[in-house]
Symmetry: C2
Subunit: 518 residues, 2 copies
Amino acid sequence: MTENRTRPRARSGGRSARHTLRTLRDFTMLPGLTNALPLCEVMDGAQVEAIDSASMDILENVGVMFRDPIALADWKAVGAKVVGEIVYLDRDLVRDLIATIPADFTYSARNPANNVRLGGPHSIFVPMTGAPYLRDLEDVRRNPTLDDLAMFHKLSHMMPALHSSAHHIVEPYDHPISQRHLRITYSSMKHSDKTFMGMTTSPKNAEDVIEMCAILFGEDFIEQNPVTTGNCNGNSPLVWDETMLGAMRAFCKRNQPVLCSPFVLGGANTPASVPATVAQLNAEALSALAYTQVIRRGCPAIYGHYLSTVSMKSGAPMAGTPEISLMNFMIGQMARFYGVPWRTSNTLGGAKTFDAQAGYESATTLSSVMHAGANYIWHSAGWNEAGMHCSVAKFMVDAEQCAMAYKMAQGPQWNGFDQALDAVSDVGPGGHYLGHPHTLENFQSAYFMPELFDNNSIEQWQAEGAKDITQRALDLAKKLLAEYQEPKLDEAKDEALSDYISRREREIPQADALNQEY
Amino acid sequence: MTENRTRPRARSGGRSARHTLRTLRDFTMLPGLTNALPLCEVMDGAQVEAIDSASMDILENVGVMFRDPIALADWKAVGAKVVGEIVYLDRDLVRDLIATIPADFTYSARNPANNVRLGGPHSIFVPMTGAPYLRDLEDVRRNPTLDDLAMFHKLSHMMPALHSSAHHIVEPYDHPISQRHLRITYSSMKHSDKTFMGMTTSPKNAEDVIEMCAILFGEDFIEQNPVTTGNCNGNSPLVWDETMLGAMRAFCKRNQPVLCSPFVLGGANTPASVPATVAQLNAEALSALAYTQVIRRGCPAIYGHYLSTVSMKSGAPMAGTPEISLMNFMIGQMARFYGVPWRTSNTLGGAKTFDAQAGYESATTLSSVMHAGANYIWHSAGWNEAGMHCSVAKFMVDAEQCAMAYKMAQGPQWNGFDQALDAVSDVGPGGHYLGHPHTLENFQSAYFMPELFDNNSIEQWQAEGAKDITQRALDLAKKLLAEYQEPKLDEAKDEALSDYISRREREIPQADALNQEY
């Protein structure tokens, strides 16, 4: 991750370059990615329209269940046919509603240098969230605490390719569940000045998040500017529940975007067919996207999904499979067809340890989401064991992999092409480039050098202690945490946030029934 | 890898399906891949022409060193300017020569069912070769023997996504180096009836390979049909040596294709610039491709490369870096611009064990070569430790990954779309698909189920012995080897091959100086 950040101080060659590489480390966030790759569009125009048409047929004829009286009333008010809890959405109504979703927008971070644009070619990497376990700095699997969460927020802050500190990367078990969202949000805000996510574990929790955002950014500011992101999972097939819809309202009313995420286990809650699964998922996403505009016209919203396929041998969700890649390519096309930014999941996988399986699953997924042109690239660092744990080691490696994918997605850099060709003439047949001035000037920007891959000989690797990638990554995490510098919150705002949390913690019972459902 | 091969015997659900999955295993080779993905073309037409023009400038003005008197005489004979060992190639001559390289052709295997087409969208996966060590069935790293090589040829034969048994997957140290090529070739021919590679370690060794091919397929047959593949590495920058050129002649004269493979260590033997590296590599490949047509007009030939970038921290070759992906995309465009099939390397990587690094490197490379549209996808199974060892465990996992990439590259399958949509109506909001007849009929073809990924809960994984992916893959390898059935050679041909080997082993001194250079 030192790529393109440091320059050799002198042209005296390897030793000097190595010294420079060791001593400088730049934690500055990479700007939001502008993906320059030609995207992998596996459907032609007629196939895109076939999916659209199938999804609209589903919305009109099968309908979507909204298990929420307020949403049902809202739908009736805009003229949808509602029978019991099933809403039948006319395609014209859906198209009219989603038309006001912004094609792209900018997240404001509390450090404006870390603002990031989302939509079209503009993409961001966001760490994983929601793990009930972590594998810690000693690779021990255990329940996390608020300190562990803070650690992940710090690492998110320091890894340049991560554009967000997310929210509950791990579940802090040392704090009452009903009040946890307050401490999680505060931790995201405090330990990083990047954008972050907001809890949607209940409508009231979501309102707390938005209130805290209003304190941090100003009431009026958030009315105009997205500052956080909520996630609302659907229950596939074709169901949205009260908790998610209530949280969605809390966000959308205040102009904050949510990910409208059907939760797809291909083959279990969708048909055993890739195109039909995409058609169902697309119908589900459209129904929620449309509802965001019923709540507030023009509010930003994000086409989302959690996507796995299910092993019929075990019933377990799988990751890194060919169909997940294909569905990502297809969903990207659908989101672009509607002109809506879209979210996918990145480093999903089911490995129990940070082994080769984890590497294959994560890299396959990362590659496919880059070629799919995903915008909000969630779960980009740490995910393992089907999301049951966040691994510190994997978090570090994934974050570096994101930096590598970032560079790939920028495409080849043509600047200096002629000078580089001059070097070819200069060196000539049978020569070498290692000491050439052009090489010394350009090697750091030309070729990414992953810090966490070991490419030395086995003899050197053994001489250095035969450290596996888990150990190397944990060593780096410890080193970074020792160097961490907190991007201090404004004192008055910090105090106001603490006052808010104290007040709400007095108000919220520690065993509040509503929040227990989380 | 059981995907799409077995069908449940009854609709009675999970237990029956699981039983079927356990009892049937189909080793039939997947047909050669026809890649249906829209390829990742990162250059526009003007940029392709800029590379072409830069390469032609290099060929005309910098020249290419052919360290081989016969090649220099051949070049003079076709009108090239030759100064010392440097050949200056006029762009018109180059274009004229490469114009007769077939855009695609078919490899004949001794089992015609395993014939495979190469070029255009037609691609094949070929295992790694050349490892001086293996990690064996117990994951012990040691020097290999002829028995180990036979084991890899057997596994190549049995893994459906591998289209070739290659040649010296590992170096058999228990046989004299000067005679090794004979036993390697025989092992490739004997243990698998897929296509295979031919040794190019010296011109005479290459002639032996072709003679053995003539015995196996018939003298006249190979005049008309490619049956094997040689590899000729260039010494970048811009040098071809006598050993490689002599081996090339042995193959091309008999109408057998070679991979014209510049050996690129980006930044060390090419400029610190992605486009300029591609321009140099392209010039090198073109010079060798052109020479194949000087040897024999119309002979099939393959645009090749070995491609890594070099860490300026250690001097070691790296794999899975963003620039390698980008260069693959660009080289694919250049090969298609010239209408020549092209070879890349697949699962390169520098990990010392089969750890997460190996997984990330391999999967990143596999994804990028699929999106690049590579034809001859070499080193597709087993490569680790920068090629210093072939890992049995990784061989198995890589081969399964190739099957997954194969399915991805076929694109979404639209057959049965309407029936699958009927299932959506049938199941409706809040239902599930697991017991639905459509699911039972289609799940095996719809969703790939990787056998070597464990997606179970940690509790179940622990109950089953907490086997890591290395152990699972080694268990599978042992199981397959126990089930191996040799595809018997025709007895008369087998005898003729053995006679040829015996005669040549009498003729070739065990410490022949020429062969020692290998």
